[in-house]
C-alpha cells in the first residue's frame, strides 16, 4: 500500500478520536443551551425573533472566521481570568473550537424546536389545559413529546454541520480530521486531503444515520429504536474518549508547526529527536503564524521553529534593522524578559521573504534586483501568500523601492509557485529556503538596500520547559547544523510533484544528511 495512505491511516485513531470528542461536546452543549431557549421562544413571540435572528446571523459568519474570532476573544478572557484568579487557560485548541461549533449547532435546533413546539395541535393544547395540567406538565407530557421528532430532525442537521465544521478547527490548534486536509493542501498530498474528506464524510453519514434511528424511534413511539441509536452514539463517543485517554500516557512534549512543508519537516525532526531521548512527543501542526508564538508563550506547545525576522516585526514590533548577530542577541534577551520564552539558537539556514520571478521573464526585462523591478512594476502582476501583503516587510519594500504593481493577488502557498510558473502572475513572494524555487527555475531578486531583515530559523522553547534537560539534549545538536541547501532539498522532497515523500520521511533523510543518525 502507498506509504502516504499508510501514514494517513496511522494518524486516524488520534484525529478521528479528537474529531468525535469535539463534535459530540459541541452538539451536546448546543442542545443543552438551545432547549431552554426553544421553550422560552416558543411561548413568547417577542423573544422568538431576536433569538432566531441571532442564530441566523451566526450562521452567516463563515465558519472559519467564527473559529478564528474566538481565539482573540478567549485570549482576552484568559488574560482577565489570570488577573483575577492567578492562572489563565489556553485560548487555543479545544475551547475556541467548542464555543464556535456550539454556536454553529444552535440554529437548526432552535429553528426546528420552535417550529415543533408552536405547531402542536391547538386542540391538544386545549385538552391538556382542560384535563388540569400545569404549564410544566403540559410542556413535559404533551408538547415536548409531540415536538420531539421535529426537534430531533434539527439535531440531525446540526450534527452534520458540526462534524463538517470541526475540520476547520485545525488552524486554531485543535487536532481534527481537518489536519489531513490542511497539511495535505500545504504539501499537495492529495491522498491525505482525500483521506480526511472521506473520513469526515463517513463520520457525518454514520452519525446522521444513528440520529435518524433515534428520530424514527421518537416519531413512531418506539423507544427501543431510539435507545438503540443513542447507545450506538454513546459507544462511539466513549470509544473515542477511551482511545484518547489511552494514547495520552505521560504528558508528552508538544512540538508546534506552522502550515508549510519546512515546518512539518522540522517538527517531525524535533519530535524524533525527543523520542530518541525516550520521551513521548507529539506535533501540533498547521498553527497560524502568530498563533504559534502565542501558543508557545502560554505553554500550549513546548517548542517550535520560527524565523528571526518574523519575531522581530510581529512579536517585538521592531521595524529597524540590526546586524544579524546583534539582532539575535537582543531577541534572546527580550523574549526571555517579556514572555519567558527561551531562544535556544539558530539552526543554520535562513528562510527569508524574497521576491522571485521566472528566469526567462527576469532576463528578458533585465531584472536582477528589486530596484530593477521597481522600474517595470507598473506593468507587472504580483502574487503573495495570505500573510505577505499585510506584513511590514512588504510595506517597507514598497516604500523604499517605490514598488507599484499593476495587480496584486493572493494565493494559497501551494498554488503560488504554480501561478508564477504558468504566468498567471509575474512576481511572487517566495521563501528563500523553498525547494520549489529551483524546481520551477525561479530567480530570487536581490535586495541591495537590505530592507528585508534576516530570517534565521530559530528554535524557541516555552517558559514551562525553559530549563528542561531532555528538550535541550534533544534539540541542541540541531543548532547550526542545517545548511540552506539541505533544507531546500528536504523541502523539495515534500513539495515536488512526483516521488513525493511524507514530511516524516524527509525529516529522517535530513537527520541522516546532517549525520545525527
Amino acid at each position: 500500500m502507498d506509504e502516504r495512505f499508510a501514514a494517513a491511516a496511522r494518524l486516524l485513531p488520534d484525529y478521528l478520536g479528537q474529531h468525535v470528542l469535539l463534535s459530540a461536546a459541541s452538539l451536546a452543549l448546543g442542545f443543552l443551551v438551545s432547549l431552554p431557549l426553544v421553550i422560552v421562544a416558543s411561548r413568547n413571540a417577542r423573544i422568538r425573533w431576536p433569538v432566531l435572528g441571532f442564530a441566523s446571523v451566526v450562521q452567516t459568519v463563515p465558519s472559519l472566521a467564527l473559529l478564528a474570532l474566538f481565539y482573540p476573544l478567549l485570549l482576552a478572557v484568559s488574560a482577565g481570568w489570570k488577573h483575577l484568579f492567578g492562572h489563565g487557560f489556553s485560548a487555543l485548541g479545544f475551547l475556541p473550537s467548542l464555543l464556535a461549533l456550539t454556536l454553529y449547532s444552535m440554529l437548526p435546533i432552535l429553528r426546528n424546536g420552535v417550529t415543533g413546539l408552536i405547531n402542536v395541535d391547538r386542540a391538544v393544547i386545549e385538552a391538556a389545559r382542560g384535563v388540569g395540567m400545569t404549564n410544566r406538565q403540559r410542556l413535559l407530557r404533551i408538547e415536548l413529546p409531540l415536538a420531539a421528532p421535529v426537534i430531533m430532525a434539527g439535531v440531525r442537521t446540526a450534527a452534520v454541520w458540526v462534524i463538517g465544521g470541526a475540520t476547520l478547527s485545525t488552524p486554531v490548534g485543535q487536532t481534527s480530521l481537518g489536519n489531513y486536509i490542511f497539511s495535505g493542501l500545504q504539501v499537495e498530498d492529495w491522498v491525505s486531503v482525500l483521506f480526511g474528506c472521506l473520513a469526515a464524510v463517513a463520520l457525518a453519514i454514520s452519525v446522521d444515520q444513528l440520529l435518524g434511528l433515534v428520530e424514527a424511534g421518537v416519531a413512531r413511539r418506539r423507544p427501543r429504536l431510539a435507545w438503540l441509536g443513542l447507545s450506538a452514539l454513546f459507544v462511539g463517543v466513549a470509544a473515542a474518549g477511551v482511545s484518547e485517554l489511552a494514547a495520552a500516557g505521560p504528558p508528552a512534549y508538544v512540538i508546534g508547526a506552522k502550515n508549510f512543508a519546512e515546518q512539518y519537516i522540522l517538527a517531525a525532526l524535533m519530535t524524533d529527536r525527543i523520542r530518541k531521548e525516550d520521551s513521548a512527543a507529539t506535533t501540533r501542526a498547521d498553527l497560524g503564524s502568530v498563533i504559534a508564538f502565542r501558543a508557545l508563550a502560554s505553554n500550549g506547545i513546548d517548542a517550535y521553529v520560527d524565523y528571526s525576522g518574523t519575531i522581530w516585526s510581529t512579536v517585538m514590533k521592531r521595524h529597524d534593522s540590526l546586524p544579524r548577530k546583534q539582532m539575535l542577541q537582543e531577541m534572546t534577551t527580550q523574549l526571555r524578559k517579556d514572555h519567558g520564552v527561551v531562544l535556544l539558537g539558530a539552526l543554520g539556514f535562513e528562510n527569508a521573504y524574497a521576491l522571485a520571478m521566472r528566469r526567462d521573464t527576469a532576463q528578458s526585462l533585465g531584472i536582477r534586483t528589486i530596484a530593477d523591478l521597481a522600474q517595470h512594476a507598473p506593468e507587472l502582476r504580483i502574487g503573495g501568500d495570505f500573510e505577505f501583503f499585510a506584513r511590514p516587510e512588504w510595506a517597507a519594500l514598497r516604500a523604499r523601492y517605490g514598488l507599484h504593481f499593476h495587480e496584486q493577488r493572493q494565493f494559497q502557498p501551494t498554488f503560488l509557485y504554480k501561478a508564477v510558473a504558468s504566468k498567471e502572475v509575474d512576481v511572487v513572494s517566495a521563501a528563500s529556503s523553498d525547494g520549489r524555487i529551483r524546481a520551477y527555475d525561479l530567480v530570487v531578486l536581490e535586495d541591495p538596500q537590505q530592507v528585508i531583515p534576516p530570517y534565521d530559523a530559530i528554535v524557541l522553547i516555552s517558559p514551562a520547559r525553559a530549563s528542561d534537560a531532555v528538550l535541550r539534549r534533544a534539540l541542541e545538536p540541531l543548532l547550526g547544523a542545517i545548511p540552506l541547501d539541505l533544507m531546500r532539498q528536504a523541502n523539495y522532497m515534500v513539495d515536488r510533484d512526483t516521488e513525493r515523500v511524507t514530511p516524516h520521511q524527509a525529516a529522517v533523510w535530513l537527520e541522516d544528511a546532517i549525520h545525527l543518525n
Binding site: A123, E126, A127, R129, G130, V131, G132, M133, R141, I142
Partner: protein, 258 residues
Amino acid sequence: MISFQGVSKSFDDGRHLAVRDVSFNVAERAFVALVGDSGSGKTTLLKMINRLIEPDHGTVSVGGESVQSMVGYELRRRIGYVFQGIGLFPHLSVAENIGITPVLLGWEQAAIAARTAELIDLVELPRSYLTRMPSELSGGQQQRVGVARALAARPSIMLMDEPFGALDPVTRDTLGSEYRRLHDSMGLTTVMVTHDVMEAVLLGDRIIVVRHGAIVADGQPHELFTANADAGVRALMDMPRRQAERVRMLMQERVARG
C-alpha cells in the same frame, strides 16, 4: 351548583365585548344547553366556569365558592371538559388518555387501571381498544374516549362545547342520547354549548339562549316554544318545530298512500 354574578368579558383590549353583565344559576343535576349563533359568547361563558378564560368583571362560583379563589388546574381536575376538537393526546394510548387526570391527581396504578376499564365499558367501547392509539379510532369512537377521559376523575360537573358537532348525524344522535343517560345515572351537572337547537331541545332540561353576549331567553324547552316575546328567539325555536312537523307530515303522506 354553578353561579354567574354580573359577569363581563371583552377581548382585543375591550374592542370586542363577548359577555355583557350576565347572571344566572345552574342547579345541581341540571342539564343546561347554552344556545346561540357563533360569536354570541356562549363558549366564553362555558370556559369561564373552569377558568380557561378569566372574567373581567363579576364572579363565577362553583359549589358556592368563587373560582377566582381556586388554583386553575386544580379546579379543572374536578370538572370534566369535552369539546368539538376532542384533543386526544396522539402519543398516548386510549387507556393513557382516559387515565390522564387520575395520573395528575396521583392515584394508584391499580385504581387508575380499574377506573379506565370501568369507563371504557361505560362509553360502550370494547376493552381491546384500551391499548390502541387515538389515530386508529373513528371520529365517534374518539369522542367516546373524550367523554370517558372527562369522566375519569369522577367530576360532578361536565362542561361540553359542541361535543358532537363534528360527527355524522347518526353518531351524533346516538352519542347525545347515550351521554344523557350517563348524566342521569351518574347525577351529573352538565352545561353544554351548542348551536343546534334540535340537540338542545332533545337533550337539555333547560335552554339558555345567548345573543351578543347577553341572555335573551332562559327556560325549559316547552316554555320557550310557547311563551316568548322576542322575535329572534321565536324564529330560533320555530325551526325544530317546523322540521318536526314536516317530518310528521311526510310520515302521514306515506301512511295515506300506503
